[in-house]
Amino acid sequence: MQWIIVTGDSRGLGKEITLQILSETQYGVIGISRSDVNETSDIISNYPGRYIHLVYDLANSKEIKNLYINQIKKIGPIYGLVNNSAFAYDDIVSNLNNKLLDQMFQVNVYSPMNLTKYVIRDMLLNKVQGSIVHISSVSAHTGYKGLSMYAATKGALEAFSINVAREWGEKGIRSNCIVPGFMETTMNASLNLEQKQRIYRRTSMKKETSVNSVASTALFLLLEQSVSITGTVIHVDNGTL
């Protein structure tokens, strides 16, 4: 069995992507997040042998080498990676706090880059033509007050994805981004109703983005049906134009 790594698998979009992979495909899922294994016990019991949750804090990108060598590599060949985990540090830039900024870049940029490094190495070793999907954000394309620093991490991820696609395309390894609009997940729990309404009014469809729709798009980009798609960005944002 080949495996797909999903970061931030214990809740929100990551959990939905994990569940769709498990229910729609034959792949196994290796979930990585800080969450205790108990928080994902419902998935483990529904898909025995096809789901493994690794407890790891992606704020520490330097230990990803050891995570790969000591744990991930031993599980089996990797077919896919979904870089979904993100840390949201929202504030206006004049309040920039370096500690929080560092932490956000670790989780949102450095860890996805390190995971990509080891996933590509694993694909080369096992001759797997795999797929990498990065979850970006609408804020990298449309400005929102307080999101400049967060948006910068997503812009970095999108630029990284395009160049990875170019670098590894001849080995059949693909890299794409999804740009979700605002979803009703814990990541946006700090927004009040009025803030949410204001954000949704900027979309063509005047509402929150469906988590299910974003997860289905991730599944599409992982699977064979998107075999000719690489280096692109798919907006799933209710038409934030």
Partner: protein
Amino acid sequence: MKNKLLDIINEMMEEAGTSTIEELKEEMSLRDDLKMDSLMLAELTVRIEDEFEVDLFEDGIVRTVAEVLAKIERS
């Protein structure tokens, strides 16, 4: 160790459709004599890591067979 490295390189040559080599000489350059491009060097790296648990390019550029062997010996 040298024979194992020769096996790894020849396996890659076969897969790339280029002619294999009889003997691995220490002064051989990976790029010029063995005609490896950056993606082939990446593949060599992962195969060596899998076999010898050493990451070739982690702390600097490796150019020749002698340098590869030295890296593996030091690990």
